[in-house]
């Protein structure tokens, strides 16, 4: 396998050295180890336009942050353990919250589907119970139904990516099972053309019948259904991603089941992206056996909003994300796959990174605890180095009033908590407005975390804000463009009825924000009185804005204005982005680069880089001397890829082979200059490296490059050229 004659396993100390900064050592065993560390250098000049120039050293942000962490705190095992514990606690809390939120979203749909299944089951039975003999009879029953239809719930997943929904369908299945239905979850893999219809039937039987025989015969299922404990419950078949099934097999399956549906109450639940799917996938004679009803899952955006509200807006976890990270995660969600799962994964990664990098992060869990005793206790227990670190945090340096004592830290943190609470109340109020305007909470959240929102020094921002508030009383708005300004504007134009609803919601959200709560109450009473005055008229008119303003006149306008002013006031007073608060670093994750590199790996780039500078990983003695020169002991594929850099889009196989051969043969020249004369090596290759073996190595390297997706095999048109597929990094 190895081209190089030296395949001695490396000495262990080197292995230890390398594992520290790099875990990847794919070709480690192939080369002789070199005790000295090798310098990293760029790979050669740019002779061809397709040549890749490697950066001199890849930026290593984790290292930097590690350095910060290690320089700042005494990273003793105790605090590391504390951070780990804190992470486990925080994440388990977040995780359960996420699960609760998702179940809550689907609860209604599940109940609805269950209701539908029961009704369909009753319709299938059509009143008369079937005798066991009837059910087991091999021939169709003679009833007067001309076309037997299988009740089918088409559940629209509203998402092209189905990853999120797999879990949902599993839960739906469990819900229905709990309600007493027989459930079989069939995967799209069961409907593949290779296995034919036997595959899906076998899977169906295996899930329902405990000791199913190896033949997947429908009569087994009918006999099983006749057992007293199975009898008289609907058999629900859940297919979560119908799009991916093979249409022909699924159609066969449906036709087969339609022969049995009046004996066996079979009900389908299918997850589809669009209602057209079935039409595209199935032929009409299978379609006519489906009696389809439509259900809709919550859209990913709805789920996302609920998640953001529960996890990020409500300050109960001691972990939050900064603006950059929020924007990144929003774009990751919208631009990439739009699945909640990937969002949650991103969140988890952020959480992991935060707790591993931030020395004080273990304080986070107590920040959100109402009981301040713990917090102060923990602050008191901090060693001086950490304390110093805390007061050296940039956010704290910006603030003026710290005497660098332990109490201050505790105070600062509990202030942080209060401010966050106020902040979240305001966000929730804004979100309620946004619901009227179809503005997503995710967007509001992103804007609200933007530190540019208050570009002022935190020390005097309150004053400034107060001043702005005065401006506002005169009706001026100085948020321009942004979503929040838009929302405030929306409040001005809300019809009275929606305003009343809105104020009710506000009063719930601001319950803990005493100052605002009073004002909301006040406004509520004003609105209610004005509403009762206009009640009669109001009933006659539709809530259209124009007619509203005509009939309700000045009162409602002024009420709207007041509400808008109130909202604006709240925003100015309390909507301080988290990154402007003291000690926010302790609970707020802001390092977007780390998250990005962790989430969006760039495999193709990495493959190319690794191939180009394999020596930096392998650190062998033979190739380290001069990186620009291809050493014959390098791995074949690496040699080939380096050689390919000299070519353009197309690589002539002959040339490539010749250069490969000369590279490889130069080994022998170097290795054994004494044994062979320089003349003879050109004419005749050494016995160990025959022409055939070089060709074989060449072929294998080409195949490996092809598998890595870097080149394409010769086409019919150009039989002696391979085409390069990947250019640049």
């Amino acid at each position: 396998m190895s081209p190089s004659p030296i395949s001695i396993p490396p000495s262990s100390p080197i292995a230890d050295d390398t594992t520290d900064d790099n875990v990847l050592q794919p070709f480690f065993v192939l080369h002789k180890a070199l005790p000295q560390k090798c310098q990293r250098k760029a790979a050669g000049s740019t002779r061809t336009r397709r040549k890749i120039d490697l950066p001199h050293s890849s930026p290593k942000s984790p290292e930097k942050s590690d350095a910060v962490a290690s320089s700042v705190g005494p990273n003793d095992a105790n605090h590391e353990r504390l951070r780990l514990e804190a992470f486990n606690m925080t994440w388990s809390k977040i995780d359960t919250t996420i699960k609760e939120v998702l179940t809550r979203i689907h609860r209604n749909l599940f109940a609805e589907v269950h209701q539908w299944a029961l009704e369909s089951f009753l319709a299938l039975k059509s009143g008369k119970p079937r005798h066991a003999l009837e059910i087991q009879s091999p021939y169709p029953l003679l009833d007067n139904v001309i076309c037997r239809q299988i009740p089918t719930a088409m559940i629209l997943t509203k998402n092209a990516e189905f990853v999120d929904d797999m879990l949902t369908f599993q839960e739906l299945g469990e819900h229905l099972k709990y309600k007493g239905c027989h459930i079989a979850n069939l995967l799209s893999m069961d409907f593949c053309a290779k296995d034919g219809i036997a595959g899906c039937l076998r899977s169906l039987l295996r899930q329902l019948v405990v000791d199913a025989p190896d033949t997947a015969d429908m009569s087994v299922l009918s006999s099983w259904y006749c057992e007293p404990e199975n009898y008289d419950h609907p058999v629900i078949i859940v297919i979560d991603d119908m799009e991916r099934c093979s249409g022909a097999i699924l159609a066969d399956f449906i036709r087969l089941l339609s022969e049995w549906v009046n004996k066996l109450p079979v009900i389908f639940i299918m997850g589809v992206a669009t209602t057209d799917t079935a039409k595209k996938l199935l032929p009409s004679d299978a379609l006519q056996h489906l009696q389809a009803s439509k259900f809709t899952l919550g859209s990913p955006l709805e789920r996302m909003n609920a998640l953001v509200e529960a996890v990020l807006v409500k300050p109960s976890f001691g972990f939050n994300i900064g603006h950059n990270v929020a924007v990144f995660m929003r774009n990751y969600f919208l631009g990439h796959d739009g699945t909640v799962i990937s969002f949650v994964r991103a969140l988890k990664l952020a959480c992991v990174k935060h707790f591993s990098m931030e020395p004080l992060s273990f304080l986070g869990i107590d920040v959100c605890d109402e009981n301040e005793v713990f917090l102060h206790g923990k602050c008191d227990a901090l060693p001086d180095t950490l304390l110093k670190y805390a007061f050296n945090l940039p956010s704290c340096k910006r603030g003026k009033d710290c005497k660098n004592s332990r109490d201050d830290l505790g105070e600062g943190l509990s202030d942080l908590r209060k401010l966050l609470k106020a902040w979240s109340s305001v966000i929730l109020c804004l979100c309620e407005v946004g619901k009227n305007n179809k503005i997503q909470l995710l967007d509001i959240f992103c804007e609200a975390t933007d530190p540019a929102l208050s570009s002022l020094d935190p020390s005097n921002h309150k004053l400034e804000r107060l001043f702005n508030g005065q401006n506002l009383a005169e009706g001026r708005l100085d948020f321009k463009g942004g979503l929040i300004g838009q929302l405030v504007h929306t409040v001005r134009e809300l019809p009275l009825s929606s305003l009343i609803e809105l104020l009710d919601l506000w009063s719930i959200h601001t319950e803990e924000l005493y100052e605002v709560h009073g004002e909301v109450r006040e406004l509520q009473s004003v609105v209610k009185s004005s509403n009762s005055g206009n009640n009669l008229k109001e009933r006659q008119i539709d809530c259209h804005k124009m007619s509203m303003s005509l009939c309700a006149g000045r009162t409602s306008l002024s009420v709207n204005g007041k509400a808008a002013a109130l909202l604006d006031n709240m925003v100015r007073k309390f909507l301080m982005p988290i990154e402007c608060l003291c000690f926010h670093e302790i609970i707020c994750f802001r390092n977007v680069d780390i998250l990005q590199s962790a989430l969006i790996g760039n495999p193709r780039r990495n493959i190319q880089v690794d191939l180009m500078k394999s020596t930096t990983y392998i650190k062998c003695s033979c190739c380290s001397s001069n990186e620009n020169v291809l050493s014959p002991t390098m791995h074949d594929t690496s040699v080939m890829y380096n050689l390919a850099q000299e070519h353009g889009d197309l690589i002539n196989l002959q040339d490539w082979y010749q250069s490969f051969k000369s590279t490889v043969l130069s080994t022998n020249k170097l290795k054994s200059p004494l044994q062979h004369s320089p003349m003879s090596k050109k004419v005749k290759s050494s016995p160990s490296e025959s022409e055939a073996s070089i060709q074989a190595r060449f072929c294998r390297a080409v195949i490996e490059l092809q598998i890595a997706g870097l080149i394409r095999m010769p086409s019919k048109r150009r039989p002696d050229f391979v085409q390069r597929v990947a250019f640049g990094l």
Binding site: P138, L142, A273
Partner: protein
């Protein structure tokens, strides 16, 4: 039920057996063809109550000649029969006729549908189970009576099973069905009915099983077996491969409009009302299809719609009422004529969801809401990919260079104007041809090239707009490109794009966009992409 009748009847059986040992010859004329058996023991579920010949004919409208023919073929009690093949289009009443006839005659038969029994083994075992009266239960592990995978085994086991009741008449284990053989009026003929025989042709071992089935009569050499095949395919489809004696074929023609009328009128509560309904719908729909099952699925919801204005479903409509009902139905009629498959919202919530967009549209005129929204969530790059795929499928590849030049297709109109009339005509022809062919296929490279073009063009314009907003000024191109292949597989999974060709490393996989222009436009609108600019039209 009548298990104790088994033993005493043995002599009678012997007699009948000897009589049936006469040379195989169908009795073409039977004296009392349509007289029902005088007394019959229960015969599974088919034996509810004795029925008269008129009942039988009334049950199956316009199948009289086929029924009579089949009765003639099957002959009187205990007379051997030649194999029979009943064929005709789908849903022409073949299976139900057979079942009703056997119910009328009260004779033993074994039924195996080759759809449910989708493999030789299951087919064989189903037949044997019924012959041996084996029932799958939990106690026997839901196993079948005999394990039988090979055709030769099947023949042997079948022969055994057919002879067994004769050799061991007192076997109590077999009471359930052997009693029928002893019952008077049942006769000892056993009829094997194979339904959907045409499906066997597509089985793996279809070419072995099919000749076996058709040669069964020769192979078994037992006169006490009647073989009946039901098929959608013409008899010609089978003869070539059997080389055995031709079964007597009975053709079931498609129903005529009058037949359809009779069939649909069979079980209606309010005959008058339904008849007036049929007078509206039957004509136009029967031009589309004459299949009863298809029509039935269409008529059910339509009839519900038809009856919607009626408070009392039992009332007999007069002319005015009929007119009113017709007017009510009219708009739904054309819609359902064009629709193959409808998915109806089930709950009230869903219905409300369906309706809200319309109201929202009116109300939200002030907002910048998109009027017809895409109802499926896709990531931005997936949307661009989908549009690229749509363009690649719609536009001829030769035009790519013109459409996606450095200016992003903005000056492509100028170019068109410059071209001569003849070349324009040629292009027209080509475009028409492309439209007739449907969406074209394209290689991955072309898709990615178009994708890169349109995203880079969109990027320039978007970045300018977004600069002031400060929302992610950093190039979104990076965002889009990073996992285009992943997105592509997502789209393939969702059936928006389909893959064809071989899946080897060669990369010769070709793709085809499956979405229609409506959907593409919606997607384009959701990302503000000027799709029409890039669509090649005549």
């Amino acid at each position: 039920m009548a298990g104790d009748e088994g033993t005493p009847q043995t002599p009678a059986r012997r007699v009948t057996r000897s009589s049936s040992a006469t040379p195989l010859k169908p009795s073409l004329v039977s004296p009392n063809l349509l007289s029902p058996p005088t007394h019959a023991p229960p015969l599974e579920s088919l034996s509810t109550e004795p029925m008269s010949a008129d009942d039988l004919l009334a049950l199956l409208p316009s199948r009289k000649s086929q029924i009579l023919e089949f009765l003639r073929v099957i002959g009187p009690l205990n007379s051997p029969m030649l194999p029979a093949l009943l064929y005709g289009g789908p849903s022409t009443g073949k299976t139900i006729t057979i079942l009703h006839v056997f119910r009328f005659l009260r004779r033993r038969f074994v039924y195996a549908s080759c759809r449910s029994c989708y493999s030789p083994r299951i087919l064989f075992e189903t037949v044997l189970n019924q012959l041996l009266c084996h029932r799958r239960t939990r106690e026997n592990g839901y196993s079948s009576a005999k394990r039988c995978e090979r055709a030769s085994d099947f023949v042997n086991l079948l022969r055994d099973a057919l002879i067994r009741p004769k050799t061991a008449p007192g076997d109590e284990k077999k009471t359930f069905c052997s009693k029928e053989g002893h019952g008077d009026g049942i006769g000892e003929m056993i009829y094997l009915v194979f339904d959907n025989v045409e499906l066997i042709r597509s089985w793996d071992k279809g070419s072995e099983v099919l000749p076996l089935l058709f040669r069964m009569a020769d192979v078994l050499k037992t006169p006490a077996v009647g073989l009946i095949y039901i098929s959608r395919a013409m008899p010609d489809a089978y003869y070539s491969m059997t080389g055995s004696v031709e079964p007597i074929s009975i053709y079931f023609p498609d129903y005529t409009v009058d037949d359809l009328h009779n069939i649909f009128m069979r079980n209606q509560v309010n005959q008058k009302l339904y008849s007036s309904f049929l007078s509206i719908v039957l004509k136009p729909y029967s031009r589309v299809t004459k299949r009863v099952d298809e029509l039935a699925t269409v008529f059910d919801p339509l009839f519900k719609k038809y009856c919607e204005p009626l408070a009392d479903l039992s009332l007999v409509p007069d002319e005015a009422m009929k007119r009113k009902l017709f007017d009510h139905l009219q708009p739904h009629l054309t819609a359902s004529l064009n629709e193959i498959f409808t998915v109806t919202p089930w709950s009230l919530v869903e219905v409300a969801k369906e309706r809200t967009p319309k109201r929202g549209h009116v109300r939200k005129l002030c907002g910048k809401e998109v009027f017809s929204e895409l109802d499926i969530h896709m990531s931005t790059s997936a949307k661009y990919l989908l549009i690229s795929a749509f363009l690649a499928s719609r536009n001829p590849a030769t035009l790519d260079a013109a459409l996606f030049d450095s200016t992003g297709g903005s000056n492509n109109r100028k170019r068109k104007r410059k071209s001569t009339q003849t070349s324009l005509d040629q292009q027209d022809d080509m475009a028409e041809e492309i439209l007739m062919k449907g969406p074209g296929t394209f290689p991955l490279e072309r898709l990615l090239a178009i994708f890169q073009c349109i995203t880079s063009v969109m990027d320039c314009s978007v970045e300018e707009e977004q600069f002031e907003d400060g929302v992610l000024a950093e190039g979104s191109n990076v965002w889009l490109m990073s996992d285009a292949l992943l997105q592509l597989s997502t789209l393939c999974n969702a059936n928006f794009i389909c893959k064809s060709g071989n899946f080897q490393l060669e990369g010769s996989t070709r793709y085809r966009s499956m979405i229609d222009e409506d959907m593409a436009l919606k997607v384009a609108r959701s990302i503000n992409f000027p799709l029409s600019k890039y669509l090649y039209r005549r």
